[in-house]
C-alpha cells in the first residue's frame, strides 16, 4: 500500500489495533480546543444512535495544534454519550489522533483520513468540521446513511442559511459548477461530507497530492472528482449552518480555495464539461436549501467603493484578463452612483468566464488572476444585496436560479474562449 509511507509508525500501529471498521469519522483539526470536545461528544452520540452495531472509529488528523486539541479528541469518553443515546450499543468506538504536520494543510489532512479509510477498509466515511458548533447527532446519519444503506458514493450537505450568507457559493461556485458539470450540487465546497470507501480509495490513488500546495480547496476537488468519475452523488439537508466569524480579508483566501480550484480543474476536466449541456438535479434528502430572512447589517457603501476603486486601479491587470467590451462595461458601471449601480447577471457571468479562460491561458500569474476577481465579486455582491433587500425566501431562490440559468446559457461563450493548448 503506497499510502502507508507518509503515515507515522505510531499511527499505523494504532490503526492495526483497531482492525477493520464499517464507519469512519474523519476530523481534521488545528487549535480547536474550544469546540472539539462537544463536537466529538455529538459525533459519538450520532454513531451510537444511527449505527449502534457497526464498527466505528474517529480519526483525528491534526495540523500541529498547540492547545491540546488531539488530547481532547482522544480523551472524550464514549460513556458520556452512551446513556443519552443507546445504552445497549455493542461495539467499541475508537478515537485515534495523529499529527500529520506542524502546520495545518487541508489536503494532507484529507489524505491522512483517506489512507486510514483504505487501511481499515471502512465502507462509509464522513468528514466533519471541527468548527461546526451547530452540529447535531443526526448529521452523522444524514451524511452516512445514503452511503451505508443506499449505495451512494458521495453525500454533500445542504444547509439552512441566511439569504446573504455564502454569497461566493450562491453567486459563483454553485451556478458555475452546475452549468459546467451539469449536476446541481448546492455545496460542492463543504467542510462536512460523506463518502464511500470505494470512492475514497479511488481519489487517494488518482489525486496529485504532491503538487506543491497545501491542498487548500481539496474538498471541492473531491466533489468534482466524484462528478467526473460518474460516482453516485446525493445531497442531504443538515439544518442550520453555524455562523463562522469571517472578515472581508477572508475573501481572497476563500477565492483561492474555491474559484482557484474550480478554474484549475477546468483544464483536465475539459473533455467532461465541454460535452455537458444543461443540468440535472442531484437526489436530495430533505430540503434542497432553506433561506433565513432575519436582518443583517452590511456595509454596502464600502462594497461598492471597493468595486469602483478596484476597477479603476486594476485597469492594467483587467486589460490582460477581460475583453475590451467587458472592461468598458465594467468601467461604465463603476462610475455610477449608489442608487443607479447595477452589475447585471449577464455581465457578471461574462466576467467570470473571461477570468476562467485567462486563467487557463495564464495571461498573467494565476494567483493574480484570482486576486483580481475580488473587487468584481464585491460589485456583484452589492447588486445581489440590493436586488434581494426585501426579497422573500422564494424570490431569493428564484434570483439564484435565474443566475444559474444565465451561467448555463452563456456556457458556449466559455467554450468559444477556451482554446485547448497544443
Amino acid at each position: 500500500m503506497a499510502e502507508e509511507s507518509f503515515l507515522t509508525d505510531d499511527f499505523l500501529r494504532q490503526l492495526i489495533n483497531v482492525g477493520e471498521v464499517d464507519i469512519l469519522v474523519g476530523l481534521p483539526t488545528h487549535n480547536n480546543a474550544k469546540t472539539i470536545g462537544s463536537i466529538v461528544h455529538t459525533i459519538q452520540s450520532g454513531i451510537l444512535r444511527g449505527f449502534p452495531r457497526e464498527r466505528a472509529v474517529i480519526i483525528n488528523a491534526d495540523g500541529g495544534s498547540r492547545d491540546g486539541t488531539p488530547e481532547l479528541v482522544t480523551g472524550v469518553s464514549i460513556d458520556d454519550a452512551r446513556p443519552a443515546s443507546n445504552p445497549y450499543a455493542l461495539r467499541t468506538l475508537h478515537s485515534i489522533s495523529t499529527k500529520y504536520a506542524s502546520s495545518p494543510a487541508s489536503g494532507v489532512a484529507l489524505r491522512t483520513i483517506l489512507a486510514a479509510t483504505e487501511l481499515l477498509r471502512a465502507k462509509a466515511c464522513v468528514v466533519m468540521s471541527p468548527e461546526s458548533v451547530s452540529i447535531e447527532p443526526e448529521w452523522l446519519s444524514k451524511l452516512l446513511g445514503p452511503i451505508y444503506r443506499d449505495g451512494f458514493d458521495l453525500v454533500t450537505p445542504t444547509y439552512r442559511r441566511h439569504k446573504f450568507e455564502g454569497l461566493l457559493i450562491t453567486n459563483l461556485l454553485y451556478p458555475m459548477t452546475r452549468a459546467l458539470y451539469g449536476l446541481r450540487i448546492r455545496e460542492a465546497y463543504s467542510p462536512e461530507f460523506g463518502f464511500s470507501g470505494r470512492f475514497g480509495s479511488q481519489f487517494l490513488g488518482q489525486n496529485a497530492w504532491n503538487d506543491g500546495t497545501d491542498g487548500a480547496g481539496v474538498n471541492l476537488r473531491f466533489t468534482l472528482a466524484a462528478i467526473t468519475g460518474r460516482y453516485r452523488i446525493c445531497q442531504s439537508f443538515l439544518g442550520e449552518k453555524d455562523h463562522v466569524e469571517r472578515h472581508a480579508a477572508d475573501l481572497v483566501p476563500a477565492l483561492r480555495q474555491t474559484v482557484g480550484v474550480l478554474f484549475s480543474a477546468l483544464e483536465p476536466d475539459f473533455p467532461v464539461w465541454s460535452a455537458v449541456a444543461g443540468s440535472q438535479p442531484a437526489p436530495t434528502t430533505g430540503a434542497d436549501q432553506e433561506v433565513l430572512l432575519g436582518p443583517l447589517r452590511v456595509n454596502r457603501k464600502r462594497l461598492r467603493e471597493m468595486f469602483s476603486n478596484g476597477v479603476a486601479e486594476l485597469e492594467s491587470v483587467f486589460q490582460s484578463i477581460l475583453s475590451p467590451s467587458t472592461l468598458a462595461e465594467l468601467q461604465r458601471i463603476a462610475r455610477l452612483g449608489e442608487e443607479e449601480f447595477h452589475y447585471p447577471a449577464e455581465l457578471w457571468v461574462r466576467s467570470v468566464y473571461e477570468f476562467a479562460a485567462s486563467y487557463q491561458k495564464s495571461v498573467i500569474s494565476r494567483d493574480h488572476i484570482i486576486q483580481a476577481l475580488a473587487p468584481l465579486f464585491r460589485g456583484r455582491v452589492f447588486t445581489f444585496l440590493m436586488e434581494n433587500r426585501n426579497a422573500s425566501a422564494d424570490e431569493v431562490e428564484n434570483n439564484i436560479e435565474a443566475l444559474c440559468l444565465e451561467f448555463e446559457r452563456l456556457k458556449p461563450y466559455l467554450l468559444q474562449l477556451w482554446k485547448p493548448r497544443e
Partner: protein, 234 residues
C-alpha cells in the same frame, strides 16, 4: 627616368598583386566563415526556439508579465527575442573570427576583448530579463494586495516598488558589464536615498491628511465596523 618610373610602377603593381593574392584566400576564408557562421547561427536559433517552446518559455514570460512589456514596446515574443539575440551573437562571433583571419593589426586585441566580454553580456542580459520580470510580478502583487486591502493610492505603492526594483536591477546590470561602475554606484546611492527620503517626506508631510485618513481607517473605523455583520463568502 621613364624606365625607372615604369619599373617602380610595375614593382608596386606586382606587390599589390602579390598582396592581393595573399589577401584573397583570407577574404575567401572570412566569407566562408561568415557563411558557415550564418548557417550555424540559424541552426542554433531554430533549435533554441524549439527548446524554448518546449519548456514553455513564453508562458513563464507571460506569468511574470514580461510578454505584456514586450507587446507594449511592439517587440516580438520572449522566445523570438532570445532566439534572435543568440542568432546575432553567434553570427557576429563567426564574423569576428573571420575578421581575425584577415590579420588586420589592432583588430585582433579588440576581438579577443569582445569574446571575453560575451559571458558578462549574457549574465547581464539574464539579470536584466529576470529583474524586469520580478519588477513586473512584485509590483502587480503589491497593487492587487493594496486594492483588496482597501489601502489608499495602491498604484503609487505599486509604482514605487517597481521603480525600486528596476533601479536596483539596473545597478547590478551595469556593475556586471563593468560600465561606469563608480558612477553607477554613486547614482544608485543618490537615487535610492532620494527615493526613500522623498517617500518619507511625502508620507510625513505632503501626505499628512492621507496618513491620518489611512491610520483612522485602519484603527478607528475598524472598531466601528466590528459591530457590523460581515458577509461570509462561504
Amino acid at each position: 627616368m621613364r624606365e625607372m618610373i615604369i619599373g617602380e610602377l610595375s614593382q608596386a603593381l606586382h606587390e599589390i598583386a602579390r598582396g592581393f593574392a595573399h589577401f584573397l584566400p583570407r577574404l575567401v576564408v572570412m566569407l566562408i566563415l561568415a557563411f558557415v557562421g550564418w548557417v550555424i547561427a540559424y541552426a542554433v536559433k531554430a533549435v533554441l526556439r524549439i527548446f524554448l517552446r518546449l519548456i514553455k518559455f513564453d508562458k513563464l514570460s507571460e506569468n511574470a508579465g514580461a510578454s505584456q512589456l514586450l507587446t507594449n514596446a511592439a517587440l516580438p515574443s520572449a522566445t523570438e527575442m532570445l532566439s534572435r539575440f543568440v542568432f546575432w551573437v553567434t553570427w557576429l562571433g563567426f564574423i569576428l573570427l573571420g575578421v581575425q583571419v584577415l590579420g588586420i593589426l589592432g583588430l585582433q586585441e579588440q576581438i579577443a576583448r569582445f569574446f571575453l566580454f560575451l559571458p558578462r553580456l549574457f549574465v547581464a542580459m539574464f539579470i536584466l530579463f529576470f529583474g524586469l520580470l520580478a519588477a513586473s510580478f512584485f509590483s502587480r502583487a503589491a497593487l492587487l494586495a493594496a486594492v483588496n486591502a482597501n489601502v489608499p493610492s495602491p498604484r503609487v505603492l505599486s509604482l514605487a516598488l517597481r521603480t525600486i526594483i528596476i533601479v536596483f536591477v539596473l545597478s547590478i546590470v551595469f556593475e556586471e558589464l563593468g560600465l561606469a561602475e563608480q558612477t553607477m554606484l554613486v547614482a544608485f546611492g543618490i537615487a535610492f536615498g532620494a527615493l526613500m527620503l522623498g517617500l518619507a517626506i511625502a508620507f510625513g508631510m505632503g501626505g499628512r491628511d492621507l496618513a491620518k485618513r489611512f491610520l483612522e481607517k485602519r484603527f478607528v473605523r475598524a472598531k466601528k465596523e466590528e459591530n457590523e455583520d460581515e458577509l461570509s463568502p462561504l
